[in-house]
Symmetry: C2
Subunit: 354 residues, 2 copies
């Protein structure tokens, strides 16, 4: 299996193994039912694991889902935050979205000014998805570090040894001291709603960020706070056929600032599950499971379950050709981004600041 940790995800992903490796619990129909939204990712199996949701869903809870603003956002990032929006609508949750611009500088050595600019662009994309301004707070660490968050970080950092961080993160002594401290800041992000509202937090994230959840769970009790839970999402498929969309390979994903022409070009070049020739495709049918266009429809673009099932059936049978599937996906993607850009232009970040 590939490598999965907070700073590297590569190779093939085996979710059953990840569940065991990270010690999370497998998603169940009962929990999905309690989460109870018609969100695409939730109803189509993108959330495969969790921590403590059996218990936490019995009462009030808050959601934390952060963003490391090192690059533009692509459609899979948006889809995950759309799931958060839908959960907020369903459960009336308080949602906290911290932007770890500081982490990017510490761990990736990104440029200070560019990282802060990127954080603002990312925030607009996220907030455009429909978060309730009365129940949603965002924070850029390098712009408005909140005193409670800072104090939680100091408190957490006083309770975690260097040995523990070395074991969890695998850092060597040649790393900068900020990288070793950063887990305390992320723990503070996770525990902030619990500290303010005395209700547990659910961290919504991919499994690579789970070590931070685990550390937060380790110290929460000693900080007099409820343990956070987690809702864990799969690495969503990219256009090039890999298991995860890559932020560093721009052609592997659709970005929120892609032009219509770029959207069209990228989907046309996307990895396909169709056959080599028209005749073979008609005879044997295509494979939607590895077809980037179909996966895009499934997880991001096609709300209508019947329509999706029909497309899948027709593609498998060879009735629907790759070109037709791509054409449909292009039209859906263009429509999605037109609406997204419109929503995005209306966002006033100030309304959401912590």
């Amino acid at each position: 299996m590939g490598k999965v940790d907070p700073y590297e995800v590569s190779g093939d992903i085996d979710y059953e193994k990840l569940i065991k490796q990270f010690g999370v619990s497998k998603m169940t129909p009962g929990i999905l039912n309690k989460l109870g939204t018609k969100n695409l990712l939730l109803k189509r199996g993108a959330f495969y694991a969790h921590r403590d949701l059996n218990k936490i869903l019995k009462g009030k809870f808050a959601i934390v889902s952060g963003r490391g603003p090192s690059a533009k956002m692509h459609i899979a990032h948006l889809a995950m935050f759309k799931a958060v929006v839908d959960l907020q609508k369903k459960h009336g949750c308080f949602v906290f979205i911290p932007f770890s611009d500081d982490e990017k500088i510490l761990v990736k050595g990104t440029d200070y000014v560019k990282t802060q600019e990127m954080a603002i662009e990312n925030a607009k994309d996220i907030l455009a998805l429909g978060f309730d301004p009365r129940k949603t707070k965002i924070m850029f660490d390098l712009k408005h570090m909140n005193q409670d968050v800072y104090n939680l970080a100091i408190n957490a950092s006083s309770k975690i040894t260097l040995s523990t961080v070395k074991a969890v993160m695998g850092f060597k002594d040649s790393k900068n001291i900020g990288s070793f401290f950063y887990p305390a800041i992320q723990i503070a992000h996770i525990l902030y709603p619990t500290f303010k509202r005395k209700i547990p937090t659910v961290m919504i994230t991919a499994i690579d960020q789970d070590p931070f959840v685990r550390l937060a769970r380790d110290v929460a009790g000693r900080m007099g706070l409820k343990k956070p839970g987690a809702l864990t999402i799969k690495f969503l498929p990219g256009l090039s056929g890999g298991a995860k969309m890559s932020s560093s390979d721009p052609s592997s994903a659709l970005y929120t600032d892609d032009s219509d022409a770029e959207i069209e070009r990228k989907i046309k070049r996307a990895f396909s599950g169709g056959r080599e020739t028209l005749a073979e495709h008609r005879k044997y049918g295509g494979n939607p499971d590895i077809d980037a266009s179909f996966q895009y429809l499934k997880f991001f673009l096609e709300e209508d379950d019947k329509k999706l099932a029909e497309i899948e059936k027709r593609y498998k049978s060879g009735d629907l050709m790759t070109g037709e599937l791509k054409k449909y996906t292009i039209s859906k993607a263009k429509k999605f981004f037109v609406q997204h850009r419109k929503n995005r232009s209306k966002i006033k970040i100030e309304k959401y600041l912590i």
Copy 2:
């Protein structure tokens, strides 16, 4: 020689050796002359070393002198801050006084609420010494962490490896991650005035805090900031005859909240340089260099040089008895604290907050 590092000062102190060990420069009459105040500590040799003052005193500079609020303040603490006040008056400097309540929690494991309360009490004592409210800013890290200071800490922490902090501070992997990060916060304190005002900072402190100055000097250039200098004070004598006043042994020092009766009792019991018997004292004279009362007059209480010289001469000759010297010291100390309490009661901390 004893041990001197940021978290332990013990044993006998050899200042010549410390100068070599820490790589600071020996104080010179020329620099003292440029500092140019009639402050007791400055004119009576309490500042024995420096970094870069030859260069820095040629232009504008700011002063940083912080306080780790783990205990009540005694008269030696006040005396050092009084030197800062006098330097501010002479040079019109901006002075920044950070209270590292966070460090106390990280390194000493002190109680969160008590540490913050102590910080406020300490701040009142310090500000009562006469700082100019227009040119003085204080900050309690756990109460109003300033965004610029936080960002400077993140920036500094991205440029210092764990190996470096281990070498400088001598910490092991069993220490908490906050302790390893804390030097970045202290560096941020030191560099904050330079960041805001583009002028160098002089850190005024005892040599045990010099490792932070050295780290700040190491990274300042890479952060695009001028290197800080330092003005280094001796460990001031306690009442029990040790080289340093001890904050953990209450009878070894005069505290700002000591009653008149306590002041009298403590000085009466203080270590004396007098002889065993009256007759011997008359015959051989006393030793002012090891006499706590005389040292108190010299560094804290007797402004008048002629008067001090006369007392020294009379004590050495056996003309002045220990009882008389103590009586005089008690009257000076009581007078000092009466005035201090009066000044302290008028302090409004809000006027000085960053």
